[in-house]
């Protein structure tokens, strides 16, 4: 920082790698700041700090236009780790674990959570075929004033622009870049329309393929079988006629390549269309020159290549048709979710039941659902009880019992009784609608590896054009006769084989399938980056309560020293009835179970890290940890032994004292989830270290860690310090995942490389983590990691395939093998190979759909729940 005015506005940028970039940014911002010295560019943090009063949006636009995508940093986008200190008053005992109430009032926003759907325009884009198209479209959108961020998803042909701009201006920008665009207003309608459009486009492509391939094959057969591909005086007229026919067919079946290429060219861009247009155009132009003035060329060079132009277009159309069909399959995960929605709802209004379209259901409506019917909206059961199959949302295979007052979700299936429930969330607010949005968004997001591929391919096409020219000149100057023919063939083949369409598809296709696959397993992945990073994890930190354990503590042991058990419970529960802490609930539940009459305790007070206290008949009553009571001068006597036994059983001992005398100790423990141990073993099998953080005392933590098979643990960690543990482990070089319940662990989730929010059922805090597990089971973590590893492997295979194909293909096409083996590739073969490469990439991504995680019943513990054992096998 320099001695400039207070720097207040900050932009986050990307792509600035050197001092030259920094200078360029400073210069670009000069009109806005008045002085280049007032702009601070931090290359390491990739941020730009601006003086107070500068319009951040305008600055971001300028920097983006300079070539470095920039976004203003929102003030509330501070890393979440700063916001965890807002404790509620009631922290229970020091050895009490998780202080769950902590962050509920101040749920921190993760860095990703700040931008909602506001200010976003979704566009359906047509005509985009490759990575270069993606670049062109994103740039076209960014050029619209007010747009801060633009993202094109090639896998489902949609684009999202974030910022403040007229949707029509965005459509125009995309159209002027050479593509079709329309604003998506209603997602459902858009899905249906897209499906219909895809079907239509598929048929059109097949017809075009048949026509162009038919002509090309016909010419080839005719030329080779009955005549000659060489132009002679006798057949010159015929070839001229065929040349014109070829041109017509090329325009009719491949017109989109030429218009696309031209529009991209006007915008100083080059894409796959450019290569196809140049390749087929060169072949046709050369041939028509031969057919028109054969005398101008040496006799050996009077060869026509009309069939090549037609066949290349035919093969590429075929490739695109196959690709379109495979793309349809990859979005099956979303379609399956969409199919879960009920079409109608049986609403009770004015005492009358009638079926109405689900869109017309309003909050507060009472809805009757009979056995075997799907639930149309989210709500709370008002009448009756039933079992509900939630497997479609949570992956949990067994129907869950639900009765009055319990929440139910849209899309789940009522398997048993007839219920009436009150609608609480309808339309786009339902959990199902949110899940669909989330999956779609994640499917379209690009992990870092994909952005690299885009960057490469944007320089790739112009580079290929240069290579084609170099090859042509080399053939012309040092090649054998007929040099003109060889020159033309080499250039055409290079242009055709180098199409980067496989490169552009490699990442998005795999991400789409991977995210869909994860959703199938109840793991919602929020961004592509989380998907990529999850595969690299080597340390998983688990929160204890609600993650490893059930999260519902229960009294396991009551040890009385100077009282009877009934009285002990009566006093303890009398004190705890004023508290809402999980431990208090456990004691109250025990008192209810034992039918104990609660004592009247007054003056309740919760002491952070110690326990709770009050007054009973004028005497102080305290319930809390050992340290606190000893500090108060209370002799615990033989209770210490009982407490040790509780700790060894992974429980938390709570001492009760009345006046200055210890009455007894209550052991409260949170049972380990039946499948936690098996899930932790799966993580170990995957070569990942597992660590537990808890607020429990060392003894309890050790006992739980041992029971669950955990390598390492940190005891007595306050909720707000969990993020520090995560940062510390990251500092040691681990790639860290934090698994927590998403509310009180939000800072730690945000601090980790990948945060897993573990939710039970659909009650999820999806905004706070990179990955949300919809099931309560820890198995979701290894499932997500395995899927992530498989997806990243798939992306690597695809990128490797595409790169190898292009890097090997180009020299061969340029004729590098000719001097040694006399091999010169034909442009037709190049066209076929190019189409094949895209189809291969798409098929390889589809292979991921068959992926199964390692979750098998025989791998489960002996104490595994049989329900879990049935899962997915």
């Amino acid at each position: 920082m320099t001695d400039t005015p207070v720097l207040q506005t900050t932009l986050s940028i990307s792509g600035a790698s050197c001092q030259g970039c920094a200078k360029k940014i400073r210069n670009a911002l000069e009109p806005l700041t008045g002085d280049t010295e007032l702009v601070e560019v931090d290359l390491e943090q990739q941020t730009v700090a601006l003086p107070e009063g500068v319009d951040a949006a305008e600055a971001a636009r300028i920097v983006t236009e300079t070539g470095y995508p920039a976004e203003p940093v929102e003030e509330d986008a501070e890393p979440a780790s700063c916001c965890a200190s807002g404790n509620k008053s009631e922290n229970h005992t020091g050895d009490d674990s998780e202080n769950r109430a902590t962050a509920e009032e101040s749920v921190p926003s993760s860095p990703e959570a700040t931008t909602g759907d506001s200010g976003q325009v979704h566009l359906s884009v047509t005509g985009a075929t490759c990575a270069s198209c993606v670049n062109t479209i994103e740039k076209a959108l960014m050029s619209v004033s007010g747009i801060r961020h633009a993202h094109m998803n090639l896998a489902d042909n949609t684009a999202t622009a974030t910022g403040d701009a007229d949707p029509e201006a965005l459509v125009k920008a995309v159209e002027s870049a050479g593509y079709g665009a329309s604003v998506i207003e209603d997602e459902d309608e858009a899905d249906d329309r897209k499906q219909e459009e895809d079907r239509k486009q598929y048929r059109t492509l097949l017809v075009k393929m048949a026509v162009s391939l038919g002509l090309g094959l016909g010419l080839m057969v005719w030329g080779m079988g009955f005549g000659t591909m060489m132009v002679t005086d006798a057949n010159q007229g015929t070839w001229l006629g065929l040349g014109v026919l070829t041109l017509i067919v090329m325009a009719a079946t491949g017109g989109h390549f030429y218009t696309g290429a031209w529009k991209a060219f006007r915008h100083h861009n080059a894409n796959m269309d450019t290569l196809i247009a140049l390749g087929t155009g060169t072949a046709w132009l050369y041939s028509i020159v031969v057919a028109s003035i054969p005398g101008a060329l040496p006799e050996m060079a009077r060869h026509v290549y009309f069939e090549a132009s037609a066949m290349i277009i035919g093969l590429i159309n075929l490739g695109q048709a196959l690709e379109l069909r495979a793309k349809g399959k990859t979005s099956e995960a979303v379609r399956r979710l969409l199919d879960l929605r009920a079409k109608t709802a049986r609403v009770i209004r004015n005492g009358e039941e009638r079926d109405i379209p689900v869109e017309e259901v309003q909050k507060g409506d009472h809805i009757r659902v009979r056995p075997g019917e799907k639930l149309p909206v989210d709500g709370v059961i008002a009448e009756g009880s039933t079992r509900i199959d939630e497997s479609m949302l949570t992956g949990e295979p067994m129907p869950v019992s639900k009765s009055e007052g319990e929440e139910v979700s849209a899309g789940t299936l009522n398997t048993h009784g007839s219920i009436v429930y009150e609608a609480t969330r309808v339309g786009s607010e339902t959990a199902l609608a949110q899940i669909i949005r989330l999956v779609k968004k994640a499917q379209g997001s690009k992990p870092a590896i994909g952005r690299l591929a885009d960057k490469i391919s944007s320089v790739f096409v112009p580079t290929v054009m240069l290579i084609a020219l170099v090859a042509a000149l080399v053939w012309y100057n040092v090649g054998p006769e007929p040099a003109v023919v060889h020159m033309m063939v080499a250039a055409t083949t290079v242009l055709i084989i180098a199409c980067p369409c496989a490169l552009g598809l490699a990442t998005p296709m795999s991400v789409m399938v991977g995210v869909g696959k994860a959703a199938e397993y109840g793991a919602l992945i929020r961004q592509g980056d989380a998907l990529q990073t999850a595969g690299k994890l080597d340390l998983v930190i688990l929160d204890k309560t609600g993650t490893i354990t059930e999260g519902h503590p229960a009294v396991t042991r009551v040890h009385v020293s100077d009282s009877d058990e009934q009285r002990l419970l009566a006093i303890a529960a009398g004190l705890e009835q004023h508290s809402e802490h999980p431990l208090a609930e456990a004691i109250l539940a025990k008192a209810r179970e034992e039918d104990v009459q609660l004592e009247k305790v007054t003056g309740f007070e919760a002491l952070n890290g110690k326990g709770v206290q009050g007054e009973l008949d004028g005497e102080p009553v305290r319930l809390g940890n050992r340290k606190w009571l000893e500090q108060e001068g209370i002799d615990l006597g033989d209770l210490a032994d009982a407490a040790r036994a509780i700790t060894e059983e992974a429980g938390t001992p709570l001492f009760l004292a009345l006046g200055g005398k210890a009455l007894g100790v209550i052991g409260v423990a949170d049972a380990i989830k039946p499948d936690s141990k098996a899930a932790i073993r799966r993580l170990h099998d995957a070569g990942i270290r597992v660590m537990m953080v808890t607020g429990d005392v060392d003894g309890t933590a050790r006992a739980i860690a041992k029971k669950a098979g955990i390598d390492d643990y940190r005891a007595e960690v306050l909720p707000e310090d969990k993020a520090e543990v995560v940062s510390e482990m990251r500092g040691k070089g681990f790639t860290v995942a934090m698994v927590g319940d998403g509310i009180n662990d939000a800072p730690a989730l945000a601090a980790a490389d990948v945060g897993f929010a573990i939710g039970t059922g659909t009650d999820v805090a999806i905004e706070s983590a990179g990955i949300t597990l919809m099931r309560g089971s820890l198995h979701g973590v290894p499932d997500a990691i395995e899927i992530s590893r498989a997806t990243v492997k798939n992306i690597h295979q695809n990128l490797f395939g595409a790169f190898v194909y292009n890097t090997m293909g180009i020299p061969v096409a340029a004729g590098l093998l000719y001097p040694v083996w006399g091999i010169l590739m034909s442009p037709i073969l190049a066209g076929a190979a190019m189409s094949l490469s895209s189809v291969t990439v798409v098929s390889n991504a589809n292979r991921l759909r068959l992926f199964r995680t390692s979750h098998r019943p025989e791998r489960n513990d002996s104490n595994s729940d049989p329900k879990q054992q049935q899962e997915r096998n």
């Binding site: 792509g15 600035a16 790698s17 050197c18 030259g20 970039c21 360029k24 236009e65 300079t66 070539g67 470095y68 670049n135 062109t136 740039k139 050029s143 060219f265 915008h267 100083h268 861009n269 080059a270 960057k455 944007s458 320089v459 112009p462 054009m465 240069l466 020219l469 170099v470 042509a472 000149l473 012309y476 100057n477």
Partner: protein, 38 residues
């Protein structure tokens, strides 16, 4: 003469490609990707 013309034409085309896609890009790629070359 013909050889000279063809070679000169080829080189001119190459120069034009470099200029059009990298150097003159007013709204786009050119400038962006160029950054990564230095």
């Amino acid at each position: 003469m013909e050889t000279l013309l063809v070679n000169a034409g080829g080189l001119a085309l190459m120069a034009a490609i470099v200029w059009w896609f990298w150097l003159s890009g007013s709204d786009d790629t050119g400038s962006n990707d160029h950054q990564h070359h230095h």
